[in-house]
Amino acid sequence: MATSGYLVLPIEGLKRSDRRTVAFLTKLDDASLNARAVFDKLDNKQKRTVLDRFDHWIEGAEGAAPHDKYFHGWPNNQEYKQCFVFKWKRGNGHHRLYGFLFNPQPIARANFRVCVLVSHAIKSTWETDPSELKAAKALHDNVPVIAALKALYPDKKGGTK
């Protein structure tokens, strides 16, 4: 499968679940896919804060109040319903890891979702920058990205995707 240089990297050490997991999308010549690079450089305290939030989502928590300050999607927004964000605060900086939800194994595991993280941003407010969501949505629909996801999480044969 041609993945055009896209690589999906699972995050080691997270909870194991048949329903959810979190991974990073990278590409050597695309600096905008910086989620993994930023995560790797976090200090230990920030890293465990973020790992805890990944785990909490994997455990089955939904990004509803009062916990939408940790992560949430946009399920009621038709355009960005597959987009997702993890959040944490450091000093006055509001950190975001943006990505999208995708099921690469619709036959083997119909309820499985990978949260594919693509970009990092620091905001001065809690408001979301739509350009981040547009970029995540574009990657969700990108054929080589889908191929890279299916290469990492192969489905049973017989699917149409």
């Binding site: 699972p10 050490g13 194991r16 805890d52 785990d55 928590a61 109040a65």
Partner: protein
Amino acid sequence: MSAGKQSHWTEKSTDDFLYKIAADFVRQIERAMDSAGVNQAGLAKRLRVSEGRVSQVLNNPGNLTLRKIVEYARALGRKVAIVEYDDDDPGNLNGPVNSEIFAKCWYLAGMPSDFFALESVAANDVTQIFGFAPEPFITQIKFRRRAANRTNAGPAMDRSAANAETFDITMGVAANG
């Protein structure tokens, strides 16, 4: 997919494990605050500390002490238990079980407050329990909620469970595959 036997991130240090279980507790407190309509300022008033102090504690779970845990729970009219358990994961491949799951199981079991009440639940309503961990155990349990328990349901209890006459919990845990 990584199929290795990578330990969970909380296995790296006691501080990491402590952070995870403290963060789970903070989320329970935040949910309790939300359902009681208490904000950080309100909680600070009850605790007789500054709002900044409450914010600091809730945003830095790793610094929580057992004393603080009790104080924060009691300020909201709640209680705390320290639970030890064997989930057949001695290498900690999957991290700690979220404390909210233990709480929900307790609510679902009719909130037994002593071993006699628990025995009563087991004698009357549990259909099948096989052995104990790490052996393959509980396959399916059927609890029947008594009318009296419905009025005692705690505020954090799931509404659908509170209204149910009977409900099944599947707790499939198979040791060694």
